[in-house]
């Protein structure tokens, strides 16, 4: 193998792909990045058998071939070589990097020990804006908690219907749903549950890209692929295993009615919840009282150790007076994913859920269960 490549492109690809190889595994080959030179592209592949990341970077290929070297190690080395262009060469399974005044040789391993990446059929697919997808995923990705008891809710649920993608996540205490319009109507409905870790990879890699992404759905796998026409940009694809099982009928959770609705300034609410949280003690409980006559929202928290805290916020209210308590951490998690300056909060009685929504944006909804009083 012999190739010439721009260092920045190589470095970017390596930094993005090496992360998944850090996951401890019994199979030593999984620590490697497989570098394959063919045609006019250098292909980099890393996998942990759950998530697989592949980059194709435009390069001048002198001789085709491949090499497998430890990914994190290579990334560290490359980031310390301050030149524009690198010359890569394979010799006895080792990788040699040459620049006009530097030469490194990295100990490689047998490339045939590297896993064979399964093919994904490209029959069924839909398209979405890359940035919208990674932003949407990032709004819900932290909600699930790792749980072996309910594997199907430990992942992120993606559901395509009527030109819309819905991204859903829950940990049984709260649920977030993001709705995004597809770039191109999809004739079919698709739904799958992807592991949280794979969703994090999609976010971290694609948040730096632009244009559309094509999503190919297979029974066991999903493939996200950038569809760049411009060959000077690397083509990236991320493949993920899917979680077996049926996602709960989460629509049932979304409340259809409320007892009290209020609109309040988000920043004020966030800082008051943070303060109330300091006083809430181990139960993390903060009590919300809606005072419709005064147009006020009162927050109250106390604990034996810390003391008491009470704060009143002005707000627009609709409906009846009501008292509900929430875990302040869960509230902040929801509010942190709301970008609007004002936020809408809908409350229900009898330990029913509360709903947070950004004002003027129907695409995001965050539902959380209260703490029993």
């Amino acid at each position: 193998m012999k190739a010439e490549i721009l260092k920045d492109l190589f470095k970017k690809a390596l930094t993005a792909s090496e992360k998944i190889t850090r996951k401890a595994s019994s199979l030593p080959a999984l620590q490697n990045v497989l570098i394959n030179a063919e045609g006019s592209f250098l292909e980099l592949t890393t996998t942990n058998l759950e998530t697989t990341v592949r980059w194709w970077i435009l390069a001048k290929i002198g001789k085709k071939g491949h090499v497998a070297v430890p990914a994190t190690f290579l990334a560290n080395v490359v980031s310390l070589i301050p030149v524009e262009k690198l010359e890569l060469q394979e010799e006895n399974q080792n990788l040699i990097i040459t620049t006009p005044d530097q030469k490194v040789q990295i100990q490689g391993q047998d490339p045939s020990e590297f896993p064979i990446i399964p093919k994904v059929s490209k029959n069924d697919s839909w398209k979405i804006d890359t940035l919208k997808l990674s932003q949407g995923l990032s709004q819900v990705v932290d909600v699930p908690s790792v749980s072996q008891i309910r594997p199907e809710i430990s992942g992120i649920y993606l559901f395509v219907k009527a030109g819309l993608l819905k991204i859903v996540a829950t940990d049984s205490f709260r649920l977030a749903e993001k709705t995004i319009k597809l770039s191109q109507e999809s004739p079919r409905e698709y739904s799958f549950i992807m592991p949280q870790a794979a969703a994090r990879e999609v976010i971290s890699i694609f948040s730096q890209e632009s244009g559309d992404i094509t999503v190919y759905c297979n029974p066991n796998q999903v493939l996200f692929e950038t569809a760049n026409q411009d060959a000077s940009q690397p083509q990236i694809n991320i493949m993920s295993r899917l979680i077996d099982g049926e996602y709960p009928n989460y629509q049932e959770i979304i409340p259809k009615k409320f007892v009290s609705r209020l609109v309040v300034n988000k920043e004020e609410l966030v800082s008051q919840i943070k303060k109330a949280g300091l006083f809430s003690g181990r139960t993390a409980e903060v009590q919300f009282s809606v005072l419709p006559k005064e147009g006020k929202l009162k927050l109250f928290s106390q604990s034996v150790e810390a003391g008491k805290n009470e704060a009143v916020l002005p707000c627009k209210t609709e409906g009846e007076a009501i008292n509900v308590s929430f875990n302040h951490k869960f509230l902040l998690d929801g509010l942190n994913n709301i970008k609007s300056s004002e936020v809408e909060l809908e409350l229900s009685e009898n330990d029913g859920p509360g709903v947070l929504k950004p004002v003027g944006d129907n695409s995001f909804i965050y539902i959380l269960m209260p703490v029993k009083q």
Binding site: E246, N249, I253, R282, T283, V304, K372
Partner: protein
Amino acid sequence: MPDILAPEQTKEYSNEELWQAVLAQIQFNVSRANFATWFRNTKIISNRNGEILVSVPSSFSQEWLSNKYQSAILKILRELDRGIRLVEFTVGAADETAKKENDSARLAPFVPPAAESQQQFQELNVNQKTNLNNKYTFESFVVGEFNELAHAASWAVAEAPGITYNPLFVYGGVGLGKTHLLQATGNRISGLFPKLRVLYSNSERLVSRIIEAIKNQTISELKNSLNKIDVLIVDDVQFLAGKDKTQEEFFHIFNTLFQNQKQIILSSDRPPNAIPALEDRLRSRFEGGMIADISFPTLESRIAILKAKCEQNEISLAEDILEHIAANIQKNIRDMEGALNRIAVLQKINKTTIDLAGAKKLLHNSLVAPKKATNFKKIIQAVASFYDLNKEDMLLTTRRKEIVKPRQIAMYLLRQELQESFPSIGRRFQGKDHTTAIYAFEKIAKKIEEAPSLATEVTLITQRLSSEA
């Protein structure tokens, strides 16, 4: 007769034996890490005409095994059985045993890691197909003389759905365990007869499905899908009251299921004959099977329920506190459990044991609250909704029979629950004379003594008042 002395050459290997032999030999040619990664959770799932199908857990294993080990595996297999010609790999659903473990884990309600008082989405415990919540079981249902008939009937239905009592109609007040009993019956049927299709629905949901189907002109599809059900459970059928079109569709669904000996289980907060605006033919269908009521639990039963609840949730509370709760909350098991939870939570947070005085203080508010919270508006509302009337109708000056009776009951309740003076009651109803109020009060009081049906109605209304407060 089996020949135990058969020569070894003709021995038939089972799929497990074949695969074990393969694994035993392969392990010497592969590194431990490779063996552990690629051969874990693999097995032969079929052997037909010399074609072996091996299930593997992931597409990665599939690629790896078929590219690297196919010929080695085939060679080993052929040494054992010359008839084998081909070996293929397929990504199977997770290993059977793993799947089973998963299923049983799924049946157990998810235990929240956070504070017990943090509420969860119950919907996540709901089975997709049956719509039943698996937390409701017969084991956690406390039987007392107040519900033993309903319990026995439900149990019998669960043992032989469609045969014993059809339909089974369970009625009783709010928070006394109707839903628990219905869902437990459904869950038990699902457990005993996995092939039967069970569907639980509350009537509000059913009504909205029917309305939507009528709107989208998909009513025949909806009916077809419901007609395929073996056990239909509809909770709170009193909500069908006044919804004529829905009642008509429901009547047809009911008939089809009934004629095909499919089990139907219904619940309501009152007996069929006390549900207003219910078509006669539907009422007579409801009354056609077994009707069982759940009345108010006695003090002993209430204490038993609290104890069972304590055991379930590993709460330890003094006996006299339980007695205090049971003595003071008499008409709603749900409220009683709520009170118990509040004490338990407080005890947990403060890490102290609460004594009777502390419990009394804590519960004081919730115990006296219902009486205070009832007011004129709520009484009118409760009576009107019970008889399916508008609030405004109640205050009309009219002698229409369907309004006179509810109006008299409202007057009776104003006196009974709020101790309002008769002149004041009269004034509330378009300035009627206080004698009208006295007459109404005495008439209803007397009728309650004489007619049990009216007594039930009044109790149910009072119950709603206290549960809504």
